[in-house]
Symmetry: C2
Subunit: 211 residues, 2 copies
DNA sequence: CGGTATCCGCAAAGATACTG
DNA sequence: CAGTATCTTTGCGGATACCG
């Protein structure tokens, strides 16, 4: 199984597929896009993946220079996987791909899995920098109990897992409801703080205009 | 064979992989990026693909709304495949992917296939619009006998197969030599016309800075 | 917890022959 | 030319067993 399957073409696109074109590979990158994760956490975000396949992909991505394996310092000596520089350069492209395909997605069907983290990533993908020009704010977001922090600054957006400092706006909701809210549906979202900011969110994250 | 394999995730990235993540699929898009092609021509550009796999991919891409099948008008009643609007929207993302992976490609190894059309696409991918600001020109390019026309206009670049009208600069060379030239190597390229323009090409198409 | 190893059944990919 | 049909091979999905 040491053989790397390759298209054997001297072409950037083919090379990209050699690097991250195997099944699950790009989804591993997606899972690591917001920060390092452990094997078991990766599994959680990749429903249906077989453990041996995930293990194999991680080794391949490591060999391809997209992912690194790292040991956390002694206090909690766990092993985590994280993106390399090359892997991080891939993230915006992956987000573009997601935005592209999102235009073909309708409503969620019951058998489709959904996770707060994927929506957090979608926020990054759909963020409209122009609409956010001159806006600075910190938003604490709780999606199905998973905390994220959004930092808006000078038209830039940073999304990180976890809570980080005081927030101008705190939202606690579930993934589907937030989706509907951003799409412009007349739903009410549990929120505290700057409600003016809350009402601007659909404009900053125009997920709705995709489907 | 009607069963579509899917990740079953309500996530844009996973959806993108459902659409164009199967083996060979994105390379089919690459082959169609510069214009419609017939089945046999697609095969030429996809060395190693099995005819049944190609046939299957085309049907899937068609069902996924990325590719259409069209019959050319009577004079030459051939069937061609071409990108849909959705497929064309994918092209710049695919080019980004190619540019990303190109940074990990070294010299070409002997067993790697190479085609003029791939390089023509790479020109699109690496084109530096800022460096070309205010430049208008038409370049006729012959790569291993395959003709392409590059149109520079207002910082935009259009690449099309075939010859199209008079050119300010005409280049006849092989793929590898042009690659070396653009990378800044001291090679001589067969060219006629605006040699000033010829010398600016490495700056307009900085392929060299990738590897 | 964080994996690796193995087996099994299936579906996709590869190779090639063949046909409208 | 434009595929379909057939056969073989390989990768994937799923389960489970095992080890540091």
């Amino acid at each position: 199984m040491i053989s790397e399957r390759t298209y054997n073409q001297y072409c950037g696109v083919a090379r990209a597929l050699d690097l991250i074109g195997e099944r699950w590979a790009l989804l591993v990158v997606r899972e690591l896009a917001l920060g390092p994760k452990r094997f078991t956490d990766l599994r959680q975000g990749l429903p249906g993946v077989a453990t041996n396949v995930l293990s194999l992909r991680l080794r391949q991505l490591e060999r391809n220079g997209v992912v690194t394996r790292r040991l956390l310092p002694p206090p909690a000596p766990a092993q985590v996987y994280e993106l390399t520089d090359l892997g991080r350069q891939l993230v915006p492209i992956m987000l573009s791909l997601g935005r592209w395909a999102a235009s073909t997605m309708g409503e969620r069907s019951p058998e489709q899995a959904i996770r707060g983290e994927w929506l957090a990533l979608a926020l990054k993908a759909f963020f409209d920098a122009e609409a956010a020009a001159g806006l600075s704010a910190t938003i604490a977001l709780d999606l199905d109990g998973a905390p994220f922090t959004l930092c808006l600054e000078e038209g830039r957006l940073d999304v990180a897992p976890g809570r980080d400092g005081p927030a101008d706006l705190t939202i606690s909701t579930d993934t589907e409801l937030l989706l509907q809210f951003l799409a412009g549906a007349p739903v009410t979202v549990r929120a505290e703080g700057d409600r003016e900011l809350l009402n601007r969110l659909p404009e900053l994250f125009p997920l709705g205009r995709s489907a």
